[in-house]
């Protein structure tokens, strides 16, 4: 069974601070996606990474896929209250179904 573990589970920070969220597995994934979910809504895709070692930037968000394609990280620079939400990583494995991590709930205080 392929599992994705995210850490930390919950993060409360002050506006302007930096943070990193981790997504780890013992399994290899062909690709990995990051989603953000706000209350009462479905998750929305932020980025997809497919190559080991790949780094993608989306404004203040930086995503990295591990060299072995077993882990990923999301780094947010100068967090804003609008970044508040549930961040989910999702991996596509050998069976192609997308498995989601348990999520990291981020609260950015003004």
């Amino acid at each position: 069974t392929q599992l994705l573990e995210q850490s930390p589970q919950f993060l409360s920070i002050q506006e302007g601070e930096n943070l990193t969220v981790y997504c780890n597995s013992s399994s290899v994934f062909s690709s990995l996606q990051w989603y953000r979910q706000e209350p009462g809504e479905g998750p929305v895709l932020l980025v997809t990474v497919v190559t080991g070692g790949e780094v993608k930037k989306l404004k203040r968000l930086t995503f990295q896929f591990g060299d072995a394609r077993k882990d990923s990280s999301l780094h947010i620079t100068a967090a804003q209250p609008g970044d508040t939400g549930l961040y989910l990583c999702a991996g596509a494995g050998s069976s192609y179904k997308l498995i989601f991590g348990s999520g990291t709930r981020l609260l950015v205080r003004p």
Binding site: Q6, S30, S31, Q33, Y35, G40, E41, G42, P43, V44, L45, T48, L86, L88, A90, A92, S95, Y96, K97, L98, I99, F100, G101, S102, G103, R105
Partner: protein
């Protein structure tokens, strides 16, 4: 509509009753997924469809859960003899391909009393 549509948005039922949850995916999306999300938790995979076929049903929690998809379009998730632990938000998502971007509906919130 342009997005994934789910109905009902909210369902309150009594323990032991059957419920049906419906998902209308984005037109042309061949892959369709069902996930369950308990309060404050991540997404638990239930089942996915490629066309009308379900290659992987391993996520269904018990034989009380079943799902079907017809016309490579609408999907229905049925929960028989509901239990209180079935209370959750059931999310449907569709995609152009199995590993492509998932577009989610807003979910069906199920409360079993």
């Amino acid at each position: 509509g342009a997005g994934v549509s789910q109905s009902p948005s909210n369902k309150v039922t009594e323990k032991g009753k059957d419920v049906e949850l419906r998902c209308d995916p984005i037109s042309g999306h061949t892959a369709l997924y069902w996930y369950r999300q308990r309060l404050g938790q991540g997404l638990e995979f239930l089942i996915y469809f490629q066309g009308n076929s379900a290659p992987d049903k391993s996520g269904l929690p018990s034989d009380r859960f079943s799902a079907e998809r017809t016309g490579e379009s609408v999907s229905t998730l049925t929960i028989q003899r509901t239990q209180q632990e079935d209370s959750a938000v059931y999310l449907c998502a569709s995609s152009l391909s199995i590993t492509g971007e998932l577009f989610f509906g807003e979910g069906s919130r199920l409360t079993v009393l």
